[in-house]
Amino acid sequence: MYNFTYHRPRTLAEVAQLLSANEDAKLLAGGQTFIPTLKQRLAQPSDLVDLSGIAELKGIREEGGGLTIGATTTHAEVAGSELVRRLLPALADLAESIGDPQVRNLGTLGGSISNNDPAADYPAGLVGLGATVRTSKREIGAEDFFTGMFETALEEDEIVTAVHFPKPEKAAYAKFPNPASRYAIVGVFVARTGGGVRVAVTGAAPCVFRATELENALAADFSPAALDGVSVPADGLNEDIHASAEYRAHLVKVMAKRAVAAAG
């Protein structure tokens, strides 16, 4: 790891000031992605700005019938929250499926979505629920937030402060985890909302996407059987040592059916 200067500010104003004063400063949240990156010398920040001391970035609250979750809330806090279990159990299940207990104890919502790993779970939850990402500058709809592999709409110096999740009528997440890493080989988040059915897929392609052919079939009939005749194209899906594109396309449908069955 290259050396750097470490800061643990107390307010967002101090974060903004540290970022503007140090061109090569980077944010640190749970460190579960960034510390391994630093160890491999894939990043060389001059300064690390630790977000863990900022009270306003933490916590889970009910808002407008849905949930607002602060950026530095850990996966374990989301999985263990009574409020999330009551209002959005599918999101608690998603958080519980991430990595292992130690990763969940440190890894955060804001860190996960800012990193936008193609196999991460939260992007499917945000796109599936039609969530809104709140930043230090603006609000961004989930579909506009995730722009490509490890790419987001965040500008330099822009900080994710929270995510707002509207409450769906029904939702569930089904994941086929890589047996070693627990990242999603394919993860499918299905939600039935006032505005229609949403099916968001992670792990299968370079970036989370909505499976419109599955959404259309489910809009007519929200049941696993409704997906029987539908096929998911393998074009453009990821191909690696873990799974071929065809196998991932197959898994998208299988996981979607499981999610619909679980949503009830």
Binding site: G31, I35, G99, D100, Q102, L106
Partner: protein, 161 residues
């Protein structure tokens, strides 16, 4: 170099560290607490698990400066007054280790499970130990040890009532 201060196994300690120093390096090299192991150094194996403010974390994936002001417990902090912690005793009695390299992490991880859930099922133990890899045992006796420790700790809690 910044100075970091934290409570480790009940004692306040401080030391000068480079910001890039990992918590596990500070514990092992700074404080000589070599019970916490480094297996993979890539956040996969869980040999380095310690508790920070009551939560189990991988000490190879946390900076020492992030633990400023925290309460840290390592495997050395478990045995009280010279007698083994029920988890240590159970690993001993159930042959829950062969080479022992993974054992400190297995025990520190299991400790958080038993603090949250005093009566886990076998499946819950296996699922909880997702982040702990063992190259020797095949896991069966590790799971047996954790279940035996859970029973012993429930028994002790009942006796204390």
């Amino acid at each position: 170099m910044p100075t970091v201060t934290m409570t480790v196994n009940g004692k306040q300690v401080s030391g000068e560290v480079e910001p890039r120093t990992l918590l596990v390096e500070f514990l092992r090299e700074g404080l000589g607490l070599t019970g916490t192991h480094v297996g993979c150094d890539t956040s996969q194996c869980g040999c380095c698990v310690v508790h920070v403010d009551g939560r189990s974390v991988k000490a190879c994936t946390m900076l020492a400066v992030q633990a400023e002001g925290a309460e840290v417990t390592t495997i050395e902090g478990l045995a009280a007054d010279g007698s083994l912690h029920p988890l240590q005793q159970a690993f001993h009695e159930n042959h829950g280790l062969q080479c022992g390299f993974c054992t400190p992490g297995m025990i520190m991880s299991s400790l958080e499970l038993l603090q949250r859930n005093p009566d886990p099922s076998e499946a819950e133990v296996r699922e909880w130990l997702e982040g702990n890899l063992c190259r020797c045992t095949g896991y069966h006796n590790i799971v047996k040890s954790v279940l035996a420790a859970a029973a012993a700790m429930r028994g002790a809690a009942r006796a204390a009532e």
